[in-house]
Amino acid sequence: MNVIEVRGLRKTYKSTLGKRVTALEGIDFDVAPGELFGLLGPNGAGKTTTVKILLGLTRATEGTATIGGLPVSDPESRRRVGYLPEGHKIPGYLTAKQALSIFGRMSGMTSADLTARSKELLDVVGLGAWGDVRVKKFSKGMTQRLGLACALVHRPTVLLLDEPTDGVDPVGRREIRDLLQHQARTDGTAVLLNSHLLSEIELTCDRVAVLRRGKVAVAGRIEELTRTTAQYRMVASPVDENLLAAFRETGAAVERVNGHLVLSVHDLQHLNTLVDRTRSAGVMLSELTPVRSTLEDVFVDLVRTEAAQ
């Protein structure tokens, strides 16, 4: 059973002059327990609106959204949801421990349970020594780590994270990535990640949905979206113009990129023909790898398509 289910979600905002702006035009997606799901899209695509609807911060104009089988309008649906908003402001007058205590109790935890949990979590997010320091003294990356701890404090089964690695250094990003993967794989937490850092999403998530103009433009597993193309990267030496001409005679497109060749071929047999020609020309072949498109390529293609339209 899916933990998050979104069906036909529509959201129209009314401006002060009565003009209607459509943020979501009927989107559908599911997130299963233990799954890391990424929500992508250009600015204004509807990502934040989707997350806000899931948290009951705003209401859908049409459609349904459920968390753990409960409609998102029911506060109980948030009982096991951890949320890290983008640009969150944990009150600066609280210490890290006090913040965890207040937000933990608001999620129904007891003070006794919170003492041990706070210590454990602060260690996990690398703030073990900062528990009694006021949040206003924290750097952006530290505040972000504490925000993540606040989202995790009540042992949620669903995590909704908006730009979780924003302002975090590369080592911290890796730690957060590992933590999220641990949460998903070990504890079965469903993670919905909303980020502009496509490389982060690619490294962290199992599945993504790319929103465009309030609709799901592309959705699927990362490996499906970043599938192998008909291109191969060849590293060989020495490569002269005669060899390139010989490749082109077969109908292959050849391009020199940063000291290696990018070959566009029809099929595997065609590729092997090129390899034969390389070897017969006495050229030493040191690497031949298929070129996969990145999530960024998928994303940029979609945005360009949008611009062209």
């Binding site: 911060l57 969150h88 007058y93 006090q98 207040i102 608001m106 006021r134």
Partner: protein
């Protein structure tokens, strides 16, 4: 209850961190200290034989006055002053509770918890009442103790007048919450609450105003506003009347009657209900 206690802790920590709580109690303490040292009474056989105020002798015209009467007169006058002081300090110290909670990046942290918006708003309201109530109790309780210490006259009505002041503060805080939900502005909440407080006073003379205007709808509007807004003038009268056990001028409520309390209470409940409904419907 966990939510309520978590909110109370949050509100108190914020008040302490922003110096609101400290300034609130320091001002009150300063006031209490000045009072304690400025009044010196010479009581002989249950009568006031002499008095000094800020070191200056008070002219008694050679006669002695019953200390009971002096205390009653002093306390009734002073309760009126405390009515203004407590109300103004309380609103100033608590009007930020909703606007601060509704700040972008903060409201998400509160609303993403498994609590209804009604419960969240009400728990902050109660936290605000505890903050204001503690100060009222401190200020009035201290003054009462000083009076008992200096005169040995125990007059609990002065102490109980704090409840009426607390009732007015609760009403104005409900209004400040309503304005806070709508505007998300602390400044507007404070100004509006003070405006309602003064309008309430002005409208005590609603009958004269209504008689002075030329159009019927204007008179209706003035009378309507009088019945809708809290009866701050009557509450002021009620505080003094309660302490002095005397009937006041009609415009200040005359004797203690339940009508101004009921009307003011209805205003508070109406404000809280509207604030809750708007907060429930508000999109962030």
């Amino acid at each position: 209850m966990k939510v309520l206690f978590a909110n109370i802790e949050d509100v108190m920590r914020e008040a302490a961190a922003r110096w609101t709580l400290i300034a609130y109690f320091c001002l009150s303490t300063l006031f209490v200290i000045i009072f304690a040292f400025s009044v010196n009474l010479d009581v002989v056989d249950g009568a006031l034989a002499g008095a000094k105020l800020f070191g200056n002798n008070v002219n008694m015209n050679g006669s002695s006055v019953s200390i009971e009467k002096v205390v009653l007169g002093f306390e009734s006058g002073f309760s009126g002053f405390l009515y203004f002081l407590c109300t103004f300090l309380a609103i100033f110290a608590t009007a930020h509770l909703v606007p601060r909670m509704q700040e972008k990046g903060t409201v998400d942290l509160y609303l993403s918890r498994p609590i209804s918006r009604f419960k969240l708003l009400m728990s902050r309201y109660f936290a605000g009442l505890i903050l204001a109530g503690t100060n009222i109790a401190y200020l009035i309780g201290s003054m009462w103790l000083i009076v008992v210490w200096k005169t040995h006259v125990v007059h609990p009505r002065f102490l109980l007048a704090g409840l009426i002041i607390f009732f007015v503060v609760a009403t104005l805080l409900a209004f400040a919450f309503l304005i806070g939900v709508v505007t998300s502005s602390t400044a507007v909440s404070i100004m509006s609450s003070y405006a309602v407080f003064f309008f309430g006073f002005m409208l005590a003379g609603h009958k004269r105003f209504a008689a002075a205007v030329s159009k019927e709808w204007q008179a209706g509007l003035i009378n309507g506003l009088y019945w809708v807004l809290p009866k701050t003038a009557e509450m002021f009268g009620a505080v003094i009347s309660f302490v002095s056990e005397q009937r006041l001028p009609r415009e200040l409520g005359g004797a203690l009657t339940p009508t101004p309390f009921l009307a003011t209470g209805a205003f508070a409940v109406g404000c809280l209900a509207l604030a809750s409904w708007l907060f429930h419907r508000k999109e962030f």
